[in-house]
Symmetry: C2
Subunit: 426 residues, 2 copies
């Protein structure tokens, strides 16, 4: 890829990061906000300049279409997301959308007509910070979650995703609406690693083998409020004391079960949360990840019994939320990424994704794969998030080369029978 | 006390509970709010009807003065507070102010001039829910805490106590200001028990022996934020995991140190408090109480070492806030309360106060004592708080009788040398 075109990608990334900019170089551009609408307008404008046709769907996924010879054939999709965490960075999501736009722009500029549509996509609400949990756009598109259930989710101000979708899409009345769940021939996504592996290895590109499985839970401990001075300890049903025992036991047991388990209790909400009142209720989140589905299932099965054993006089209710098994990406597409890296002389290595991505859901629908680029010290979801221009250029060049393969291939591979998770995912 | 006068006390209590009323029979009338100002106006009006002279001081304590023969003599003070918790009840504080007003009103109506001023008092911000910690008015009056330090405390909206004091007092421009820290001959306070002892014993009046000691702390655990999917457990500095270990260990060790220790971790604040982010910081409160100062000191000395031992890779900072040793009330006044109960044929029992009260601070300045009345199932700081009319009548009758003794006595006892905590405080 010539330097000038990489300059275009970098310039666009920096320009996009001005939309929703926060101090320290970060970005606050949460899903379906005015900021995301501004980002859409900018990206649509860049797409139109390249001759691409913008479209959307009921789930407010954004598409920029380069028409192929056979308009009825399943398209190649490539992209990521434009929303960020409230204190997010400049690269998570945006890098993948703009690298895809760059690749399709170059393809269009070459004057050749691809065999099938090549489509840049920006999925709605990957982050899940405003409306939780995230990945709503790809879930709706892939039929993983019902759109009605997605529309019912409310943000902290009580606004439903449904209302936010309608208000957002009303700002784009001219965009045609594509049906949800159209067949897809293949899906590619470039993303920053959000981990330290590539940087530590000194390798600019990761060929993502799969995504680590994840289960999440909401736990409620119900005790009884009481006066800190008058209620005897033996008579207390103290929800904070119960929480401390549960969380300490969960960390202790999960650590001994398997060293690769990742357990995070990230959110804790105490009621009434007053210094001199014994807490009547604690609600907390559990995020559990492991690349081996068998280990993940075994760990998940321990959550409720452990909480029940440690809750003492408090009642405990464990509600499973997300249950996303580990998935492997398409071996054929991973091979193509590896061959492109070799042809371009770019060092690349296989790598498991510890974080979830929209590609997880696409992988259930079509051959899918991801390209990772390093990010400094593994930091993401923070203003300090940073990717080196040269690394982004390397990843984008490989993405463009694989797109060439897919755009002009006579026939694309059928959706793979998802194989059992290979050993290299560990 | 004739039935009609008790009816007056009950009617006034119910009328006052309309000011700041919340669903379920509760009251939200926090310190220095418009609601408390309305309560002041009502109480001042009742006091003026009885011929009492309202006054205030720089700390917005309210006084209603029945002048005595010797205006230069130290007065008898009796009262409590008019502020409530945000979801408080009808009796906590208000019962003590209105019972005091009733007693002084009856004394004034008798036409006899007491030997010394008899003064109803409503202390500013006993509850400490808006500006923490509480008991600000009695602390300023007794010189326990500097008024400048009190004025610097801010509420959750950033309003300083100093600004709130000035705005509040500007609503009462005609009230004369008494100096802080005037000598006091004796202090009496009637209050609901806020515990289950009297109700369980079937006794309508408690002669409070003293107040259980209390220490409070603010603890900050500082770790590092991280991605729940990508950051290896071994590399985490997870503040929630550290909190769980600290809180579990505190409960375990304090329970084994002494069965009467009361340990409450009531407030927990997690940053950023997001399900998929390893928490970078947890701040939490510790409330520690025990009637024996030696045990309380020994328990308090364990707080910081325990937190440091359990914080793992997180930094820990323990800040002591309140250090209020147990105090015993004046034996002479307790005797007078007991004699009044016998004379009136009202069953009474000695009782330790597990909760703190303004009387704690007055006890360091003058002979002080408290009269408790039962509250249903020990509940307070909640709309369900309830005291039986007959129990209130009994407590108020004893208060009035002891006031008679103090109002006309030739000479009042000197401030006692506070004795070592007697055994009956346990």
């Amino acid at each position: 890829m010539p330097a000038s075109e990489f300059d275009r990608l970098w310039r666009r990334l920096m320009a996009l990061s001005e939309i929703g900019a926060i101090p320290g170089g970060g970005v606050d551009r949460q899903a379906l906000t005015a900021g995301e609408a501004s980002a859409w307008r900018r990206v649509i404008e860049w797409g139109r300049e390249a001759g691409l046709h913008p479209a959307t769907d009921e789930a407010a996924n954004l598409f920029l279409v380069l028409p192929g010879r056979d308009r009825a054939a399943a398209p190649v999709l490539l992209g990521s997301h434009l929303d960020t965490q409230p204190t997010g960075g400049r690269f998570d999501g945006a890098a993948g959308v703009l690298a895809a736009l760059d690749a399709v722009t170059d393809l269009a500029a070459s004057g050749r007509v691809p065999a099938r549509d090549c489509v840049v996509v920006a999925w709605m609400n990957e982050e899940g910070s405003r409306f939780a949990p995230g990945m709503m756009g790809s879930e709706a598109f892939c039929g993983v979650r019902d759109l009605a259930a997605i529309r019912a989710v409310r943000d902290a101000d009580g606004v439903s995703t449904g209302d936010a979708l309608e208000r957002f899409l009303a700002g784009f009345p001219d965009l045609p609406r594509r049906p949800l769940g159209k067949p897809v021939a293949a899906y590619l996504e470039l993303h920053i690693e959000q981990g330290p592996v590539l940087e530590a290895a000194g390798i600019p590109v990761g060929i993502v083998t799969g995504i680590q499985g994840k289960k999440t839970y909401a736990v409620r401990l119900s005790g009884a409020e009481g006066h800190a001075g008058t209620l005897a300890m033996a008579q207390r049903r103290d929800a904070v004391a119960a929480f401390a025992r549960c969380a300490a036991a969960l960390h202790h047991e999960m650590g001994s079960l398997d060293p690769d388990i990742k357990l995070t209790v990230g959110r804790v909400q105490v009621t009434p949360n007053a210094p001199s009142v014994v807490a009547g209720e604690v609600r907390f989140s559990i995020d559990l990840r492991h690349p081996d589905n068998a280990v993940l299932d075994a760990a998940g099965a321990r959550i409720a019994p452990l909480c029940e054993a440690e809750a003492g006089p408090c009642a405990v209710a464990v509600t499973p939320l997300v249950d996303a098994p580990s998935n492997a990406f398409d071996p054929g597409l991973r091979d193509r990424i590896g061959r492109a890296a070799v042809e371009l002389g770019i060092p690349a290595m296989p790598l498991l994704s510890a974080a979830g991505h929209d590609a997880r859901h696409l992988a259930g629908r079509c051959p899918a794969a991801m390209i990772f680029v390093p990010c400094r010290t593994g930091i993401s979801h923070a203003p300090a998030e940073w990717a080196e221009p040269a690394h982004l250029a390397a990843g984008a060049a490989i993405l463009a080369r694989v797109l060439e393969d897919l755009a002009f291939a006579d026939a694309l591979p059928l959706p793979p029978d998802l194989p059992p998770l290979p050993g290299d995912l560990r």
